[in-house]
Symmetry: D2
Subunit: 488 residues, 4 copies
């Protein structure tokens, strides 16, 4: 059941997209204000919509869910006044490519009233057996209100025979397959859980007498919270104002497989993952890339903004001067509502312009984070050549993206992925550039700190989008006919 669709992108963004960010806080005055700030800092993880649920001893649970940016909705006094209390969680989301529209009822956190009281949950990741679970739950009499896979969790909780909400959540999450970092709340508890492989991030912070859960550390910074530690793969933390943080491990132990693409693109450069600045990791990717794929040129230019740290690293390693050959229009927002034909056709030009006087007659290395469909790469190359560049060399800060992600990232169907159907040389010809090189998978592992590169028998990260090796079987997709990579 679809309702109003938010307007589409005027140009093909041609990026993988993180689908969600989660944030929660307990033990502060007006927790929803902190959640709003946290979600603003996590906006890059989901720009379509946001929601906040909070609880106040007197006023009970309250919530607000809105399409659009956090900063346009959750900053207004008039709205925030309706969200009182010392405990709140929130969610930003980007809808999946497959869904035909978007309804406000799909916007998390989801809320459920149980016999022992209410609970709200917000979910980053993707449940790979959601279709099967939903079918089973409907047969048993559950009424779904959204098209979101995450709603399964709340119905599984409703049907659990356990006594407390955290126990019911454990019960529910044990039925769930896939990747999930969950932030949840009851009237008195803030709860965080990561799936056994820890595919998606979740960190714990401290602020005054309260605690914070967040997808990334950059959202701790904005509210002045201290980073404590990452929630561990397979861990559930239950936080109360009285007892502080309690830790449980409800799942069967497993070797962790953190998403390596969080390093490449999803996370913000000022976040810290595994003790390392994401910015520095990306800088190091550029260094590795320069070592692996050297080329003679006059300038190293980033494709703004995500290619910037790798381009700086590439320049540093290669000695070729770094320059901003492409300028981003900072007033370019997300979407247009009912644009004219002419606006729609402008595409990438509305967002980027070539620094013509700089580029003219030069051999230019363009550093980008990834190639997905390749459509934007072509347009950028055209702009650079129109501006009079002598040579264009693409250097990509990730290996070829040849497989879709089923763990909470919006990827096109496999046949739309350029690297799924073309070799590197075919891609170069398709883009019509002088050279096109990707960092190797081992190079990427080195850049994230694995000096020996990737362990083929037991990879340290989830790299399914590059390798096709899925650490959790994508049940629903297989049922729909998706073919896994043939064993070699």
């Amino acid at each position: 059941m679809s309702l109003e669709m938010p307007p589409a992108h005027p140009f093909d963004d041609d990026k993988l997209r993180e689908e969600c960010g989660v944030f929660g806080v307990i033990g502060v005055t007006d927790a929803a204000n902190f959640v709003a700030l946290g979600l603003h800092a996590l906006q890059h993880r989901g720009q379509e919509a946001g929601g906040i649920v909070c609880h106040h001893p007197e006023h009970g649970f309250n919530s607000a869910r809105r399409f659009g940016y956090v900063r346009d909705n959750f900053t207004k006094q008039s709205l925030m006044e309706t969200l009182p209390g010392p405990l709140a969680i929130g969610h930003v989301r980007y809808s999946t490519a497959g869904s035909k529209g978007a309804a406000i009822r799909d916007v998390q956190p989801f809320f459920g009233e149980f016999a022992m009281g209410g609970a709200a949950i917000a979910h980053n990741g993707n449940i790979t057996n959601a279709d099967a679970l939903r079918r089973e739950l409907i047969e048993r009499g559950s009424i779904f209100q959204s098209s979101s896979d995450s709603e399964c969790i709340i119905h599984l909780m409703a049907r659990s025979l356990q006594r407390t909400i955290p126990e019911r959540m454990e019960d529910a999450l044990r039925r769930v397959e896939g990747a999930f970092s969950v932030v949840a709340m009851t009237r008195t508890k803030l709860i965080g859980v990561r799936d056994p492989l820890g595919v998606r991030p979740l960190v714990l912070g401290k602020i005054a007498d309260g605690y914070v859960l967040s997808s990334e550390t950059c959202a701790l910074d904005i509210i002045g919270a201290q980073f404590v530690r990452e929630v561990e793969p397979g861990e559930m933390v239950v936080i109360t104002e009285k007892k502080g943080v309690e830790s449980h491990y409800p799942f069967r132990p497993a070797k962790s497989r953190f998403c390596i693409f969080e390093h490449v693109y999803f996370s913000r450069p000022d976040s810290i993952i595994g003790g390392r600045s994401v910015y520095e990791t990306r800088h190091q990717i550029g260094v590795e890339l320069a070592r692996e794929t050297p080329v003679e040129a006059d300038l190293v230019c980033p494709v703004p903004d995500s290619g910037t740290p790798a381009a700086i690293g590439f320049s540093h390693e290669s000695g070729i001067p770094y320059a901003m050959g492409i300028i981003r229009n900072q007033y370019m927002g997300r979407t247009f509502i009912e644009p004219t034909e002419q606006i729609r056709n402008m595409g990438v030009r509305l967002k980027l312009n070539v620094n013509r006087a700089l580029i003219e007659g030069k051999r230019v290395i363009l550093v980008d984070d990834s190639v997905v469909r390749g459509t934007t790469s072509r347009k950028i190359k055209d702009m650079i050549l129109d501006a009079g560049a002598k040579e264009v060399h693409f250097r990509i800060a990730s290996p070829p993206t040849a497989w879709p992600c089923f763990y909470g990232v919006d990827t096109p169907n496999r046949e739309k992925l350029l690297a799924a159907t073309m070799s590197e040389e075919e891609m170069r010809e398709h883009l019509n550039v002088d050279s096109l090189k990707f960092i190797s998978l081992d190079g990427l592992y080195r850049a994230v700190g694995e000096a020996q590169g990737r362990s083929p028998s037991c990879p340290q990260y989830c790299d399914a989008c590059f390798s096709g090796e899925y650490p959790v079987a994508p049940t629903d997709m297989i049922n729909k006919g998706f073919e896994l990579k043939a064993a070699e």
Copy 2:
């Protein structure tokens, strides 16, 4: 869990309020357009919000729910285009006085996905055992999305063991106590049900090859449909494009108890109930009132607009000239958003003005439909006296409203009802008018066509608001401590 509250009335309307109107149509092109028109004609039954669900063979179920008038929301091309298909139902509602706010999720129709397909239902009435049902359903694992009593029906349906949706609905409605006229739909069926007592209205109409269900006949007129018959108390009609109307009687038979207040105030004067024009019934109430409570005066003036037909009848019977002594500002809408103090204090003056030159020095009979809290009556009396009237005589077209309604009407708590705590003479003193008279209960019954008046042993109508005799025990309210009238 409350969300944005729609703004409050700037003045005390001091009326009982019907809480809902329902409408459905099958077998026409763009059914949602017809539903929008029908709901516009039923707007007096619920001004706060409206919703439409429709089904199209290709596009499946779609819905839209909005706060505000039908005419401001469901007329726009851009919205109505998202609601295709030959089958649709809709609902307008007014929220109960007791609820602290309103969320779009409380706006009907409610939708549920069952194993055998989706269904939507819209409900006019009130379920008197909803609290008990909700508690039971939550304990069994149902997740409620709204604070509406009507949502129980969809969850009861989800848990029914019957095979078809109409059978599940029968199953669900047999568990439900209270008053209900339900319009529902599946992918191929339009369904209408009235509770065994037939407290709330529901009529069947025909339009070209299609069928219509509506709370009142006035909504058939607007779309050019023909009135076929009333859905009978205790009847379920299941309408398909192929087989037309099929009739079932799933409930234990009972003697009908239609709400007599529909005649007095709720229904539109151009609707037909039981073969009689509502306008004529009200005219006749005025006639009975003139007979029962004659008084010498110069003018008979209605309190606009609901007192008008009775005032005309009163004038007709008494021979005292009818005149519009109070003029209604036709640009007065429902509410103000964040009004200034001064606007808020204007109260009834924003809506009504006395025709000063007409009233001055005159003995005026004011005919109103009812006295609830008495607050507006006092203000009107003040305005009339300020304008120089010599005498003010109130004549009320219904008996004293001394008991709350639990069958789908918004009434204040009993202690707020003027007639619950005061005798007629005390009320006259309170309002400080020269005389105040109500029609008798027997007089009212005569006016609606019962020549012998009310049958004390077996009243022909539900008149609980006047008599305190509740035809269905208000279970939830009794559990909350409401005291029934002592047996005499």
Copy 3:
């Protein structure tokens, strides 16, 4: 230069329309609040847009101008707070049929900064030599900001050689031809002027220590002001907090010619004109109409709402029962924004419904205030016959409208006026009713209190729309080719 057009009427309203209402107040706290209330009471004189200008000793002049109803714009605390001070004027308007669109810059009051300070003016009426004045002013270097004829006044004031603003206004208005009731203000003065013939109304009221100017008395009532007197034709009142009301007569004396249609339709029934209730005058028109055009019938029904008082009078005089055979949907607002085709085609049905059970088999007299294009009359007749009426007799509370108004009323071009091209019998055939009768011009004069009827040599009112006798030559229109009625 046109800007955003407000949306069009979904059905042909088929009425003459007053184009403006004016209101001003001095000597009260937060004068703009009073002006907002006054304009709300005058909304029937102009529904398209409204504006307020106010002055505060510290904050200077402030203004707000908005499309839409007063009640939707000028009630909000946040807006009204920006309009402080003890002196304010306001305006509601309906745009002329001829203009292709509407711009907020056309919304009055107009403001001008002169060497001796600022002034704002609001104008009800029409300047019949505006085109000529505008051409002359542009040639001398004035920059017009609107397409409104009223802006001429402010430019003429700017170029006057007089020393004070009231003197400059006198200067300016002496150059102006046509009908005008002007409310204006400086930093310390509230000013009211009526043209020498007094075609449009303007009344003076008193509230506490302050004064009020208003188009009608109903707007005095809403703020609790006392009616003092009408501003006289050709009079200018200059009101200051210190000196109170000073009266001037800047124009050459003339015999007054008040617009008789104000009695028939424009003014609100609860206003008082010339010491008589407008309601009573309309009632009396119905009485005269019944005397002049009797007919046998079962019911007298008004066309709501404007035909109501005349219908009551007709019933009173004829003894035929009065009944509400046509019911008006009170939720029908002004316009639809981008409506669907189907909504657009519903026309009058969205607004009116026939009381079928009442009408069936009856001989019905329909009393309406006027026939302009006749389009609505036809639709209403169709509805009445569809509902089964046996006979339909139209009785019209004004003489045939055969000539356009050039004094501030929106009339169609002459060829669109039914009465300009057809005889009464042709109109009856065109409408296809059993009889159609208009009140005579003498009958109308009698109803407004001229016992001898109309004086042919020296008519007491402006009745150009009926008689074709224009008391002020419509200069601009004659220049555009309009042909006056041939002298007999």
Copy 4:
């Protein structure tokens, strides 16, 4: 007369602000679409509001003016359809600090109807004798509609005795003192003028058979137009579809004094001024700055985004690694509407975050474009130190800003400028950093290509904000008591 104020910045941006950008196009289909794109590219020159006027042979002049970003207003089909024709001009603006509010009537282009037809003008710059001109014009009977200094031009044109609009514009501009780049249009002509000193930029471009005028070349790029040449100081170009570009020189010749701050900050880095990329100039400023003010450190970090090119240049020259130590939140928009207290207090944190892991323990050089009030610099320094930096060295890509600009740039009053009241060492202490150094005025001149530095006797640029030497006497300001720098 003020109207609705757009909401204030939540944090002190602490930047000089260009007040306007202008754009015009002739000889293309739907010129307004091109203007919208051009204004989008010029949005950095004025974010508060934008306006477009266009002309179509049949539909005449049309216009739209809106608060907010171009991309949120002038992309919608529904609006752009109201702006037809082959000729259009537009304007983006930022209101001056001094004005207390903003009204849509202050938004340019301004339009005037003259005896020989209509004309619209858009103005970038500031008229330094506007107060005197306005007073004179009002005395002669002109009615001003805005508080904008630019409106003087249209009134001077209206009163000119010349026959054609271009001649009237020459006449008007000869009366005007100050800095102005004007884009104007009649029904058939696109006109561009620069003041004799050429303080503000204006360039001419070509697109297919049409012509373009724009504040900067980056706006030519977005519509695919070719750069032809800069409009020369003191030149008026009159462009028609038939005759193409005609050039006039209506002013007394003068030595050009282009605003040097356009190079430092105002213009976009991808624009070309005087044949040089602005980006390269800023890079070169960084190089000069590194030469003039060397310091030992670990990292060179830009203050995003405007300090970036200079930081890259500084890194390049000094050999100290360039790194993004401060990350900008790309979802940070311009303003908040009615924000909560907490949001308001977040200030710069909502926009910037320190890359903590990168900065910790490092000696950091921060390169910023300018220091105005110093408030933001302090906050950034605090953030850097909080993140654990060992040393903080500020390097500023412009000389100390010690004097306000009166030529179209929004500067605080002189006493608010940090450099007006403190020496460099006092500023360092005030900011509490390890070192603070500004580029010298000669260094800046070298960076913009003047190998010999600044000519003291005859400076090549307008550098009044640094030097206090105003090339045009600021008449109005002097009348208000502003004291020029004492002659040395």
